[in-house]
């Protein structure tokens, strides 16, 4: 009688299995290393910038105005300018963006118009920032005769960052279950009543996340403000919270970084680094708060 191979041996690792498992391990490590290759630059950049910026960093740097042709002093004028630009652009794009998202998520049906709007939102997000700058220059500075001003720059930024708000608001709205809306319809609420009483209260934190992301995006943009309202230098007094008017030109943090790192010779070495740290730090902080808000929300979700 021929002996049957015992079952345990039939399932032993053959060479082929071992090879396949090796391939699997190699793949896992290679892809893992590729992911790590993204984490490392982020950490390295932050550490290096902080290290180089250290001599200049401090409250004094933030609160002081640039002195001696921007070779010394701080960044107050640029910081406040960015606050103005971000605040005004937010005031313009947040209502339009949220309402547009409400339309897309609550009102629009599958139609050519809806597809066209979606395409437009995608394109608005994909248009290069320099093209937005050209548009701002042609439409607001010269077309609408707002001149080179905070108003023109904010309008340009607002249109540029609109897709950020639309996309995240839409996501927040579509996370509200269908059943909520159906229940409202069943008790006779109109569509707007449903939105106001049920959909918005249940998605307001998600919408807030989107608005926070808009702030971070708008604060970092350089090209669109460079040609519509931001200037290299503007004299303001130290610590002044309201130095600009709507029709004024202003300094902006992002543009200030460009200026001190490329246009001004013999700058104290740590100043551009410190400017970069303040800009990067504020943007990452704003983003991190959006992330924390989102995680907190996910933990609290009841449905």
């Amino acid at each position: 009688m021929e002996s049957v191979t015992p079952p345990s041996e039939r399932f032993t690792r053959t060479h082929q299995v071992a090879r396949r498992e090796r391939a699997q391990t190699v793949a896992k490590w290679v892809f893992g290393a590729m992911s790590l290759a993204m984490v490392l630059p982020l950490v390295a950049i932050i550490v290096y910038l902080l290290y180089k910026a250290w001599p200049s960093l401090g409250w004094e740097f933030l609160a002081d105005i640039p002195r001696k042709g921007m070779r010394e002093g701080g960044i107050w004028s640029a910081f406040v300018g960015t606050l103005y630009l971000v605040g005004l652009s937010l005031a313009i794009s947040a209502p339009i963006g949220v309402l547009a998202a409400i339309y897309l998520n609550e009102y629009a049906r599958e139609s050519w118009l809806n597809r066209l709007i979606n395409m437009a939102v995608i394109n608005l997000a994909g248009v290069p920032s320099i093209v937005h700058a050209l548009f701002g220059l042609g439409a607001f500075v010269y077309g609408a005769r707002f001149g080179f001003s905070i108003l023109s720059a904010s309008l340009t930024l607002a249109i540029m960052t609109l897709p950020v708000i639309i996309a995240s608001t839409r996501e927040a709205l579509s996370a509200v279950p269908r059943a909520f809306r159906d229940a409202c319809a069943n008790v006779g609420a109109t569509r707007w009543q449903t939105i106001r009483a049920v959909v918005l209260p249940n998605s307001i934190s998600g919408i807030l996340t989107g608005i926070i992301l808009q702030v971070s995006r708008a604060a970092g943009e350089t090209a669109p403000v460079m040609f519509t309202g931001a200037v290299f230098f503007k004299a303001v007094s130290r610590g002044d919270l309201f130095p600009y008017r709507l029709g004024d030109q202003c300094m902006a943090l992002s543009m200030h970084l460009y200026t001190v790192s490329t246009q001004v010779p013999n700058v104290k070495e740590s100043i551009p680094y410190a400017t970069a740290v303040v800009l990067l730090g504020s943007v990452l902080l704003v983003n991190a708060s959006a992330i924390v808000l989102r995680i907190w929300l996910r933990g609290r979700k009841k449905w």
Binding site: Y103, I130, G138, A288
Partner: protein, 302 residues
């Protein structure tokens, strides 16, 4: 008969009408803005087409860019187009393998905790402003390149490509991961049930199934790289020439507009040619974005 049907006050109905009108208006605003962008850029650009000094073929195919020359004005953007293509090319060659590899790792290989962390890192990486990237290229990266290769100037094609790769990787990862996530779990289960290892599942099942979405991810990465302005302005070295190697300086279409728009007097042909470059860029990104959208829609229809 019974009591009359309860009616809402006329005013509240009217207010609701108005609100809904505003909502609809905001809804179509995006279309309006895109149209306005095209209109205003085109309006500023178009008079130059009838300018006797200007020749459209020269604009596209000449590599001579002397916009401020006194007696020999030339508006040829060929070298700039090649600059954009080469920087984008270097960026994509670097970013696509890393981006797709990371997307596969995040979606298929790692534990939920690592996945969360990596996604946050990617989000933060995507949030770094382009002027900060440019600054990094100008300082850190250029020093690195000089000390590794021994070249004289650190701001060049390689530098710009590296920076752009780092900028477009987050786009590729997040869209690529979405594409892999969209593949039904039953595909994975079927492959595993046949005895495939995880890697075989990825290579033979998931990649073919998600190829449209991954293509869209790459296209959007390309779109980001083509349109990037400040980073390439600061990191590529700013010489209008056709590069012959990775260490040559170049200038891109976007950087050129950013560098010269401030100096070109409004209404001059130079100014209008820069707007025409904007039309060109607008058209390029439009095509790339629509192509990416069609690729995504391709999977959804299946």
């Amino acid at each position: 008969m019974g009591a009359p049907r309860p009616q809402r006050p006329k005013a509240s109905i009217a207010i609701e009408r108005i609100i809904e009108f505003v909502i609809r208006l905001s809804g179509v605003s995006a279309v309006f803005f895109v149209a306005a962008i095209f209109f205003f850029i085109f309006r500023e650009a178009v008079p130059v087409l009838w300018d006797p000094d200007f020749d459209f073929a020269e604009f596209l195919f000449s590599k001579e860019w002397y916009p401020t020359s006194v007696n020999n004005v030339r508006y040829g953007t060929f070298a700039l187009t090649i600059g954009t293509l080469s920087v984008t090319g270097v960026a994509i060659v670097l970013a696509v393998p890393f981006g797709l590899g990371a997307a596969i790792f995040i979606s298929e290989f790692c534990s939920p905790k690592i996945k969360e962390t990596l996604k946050i890192v990617i989000e933060l990486l995507a949030a770094i402003p382009s002027v900060v990237w440019g600054f990094i290229g100008l300082t850190v990266m250029s020093k690195l390149i000089v000390s590794v290769t021994g070249t004289a100037v650190g701001v060049n094609l390689l530098n710009g490509g590296f920076i752009l790769a780092l900028m477009s990787v987050p786009v590729i990862v997040s869209i690529g991961e979405d594409a892999l996530k969209a593949v039904p779990d039953s595909y994975r289960e079927a492959a595993l049930a046949l005895g495939a290892t995880r890697w075989e599942t990825v290579f033979r099942v998931l990649l073919p199934a998600a190829k449209n979405g991954l293509l869209a991810a790459v296209l959007l990465g390309v779109g980001r790289a083509v349109g990037e302005t400040m980073a390439v302005l600061m990191a590529t070295g700013h010489a209008v020439q056709i590069p012959h190697g990775l260490l040559d300086s170049v200038r891109t279409l976007t950087a050129n507009v950013a560098a010269e728009l401030g100096e070109a007097p409004a209404g001059s042909s130079h100014y209008r040619v820069l707007f025409l470059t904007g039309v060109l860029l607008f058209a390029i990104t439009l095509v790339v974005n629509v192509a990416a959208d069609l690729a995504v829609r391709g999977i959804r229809r299946k």
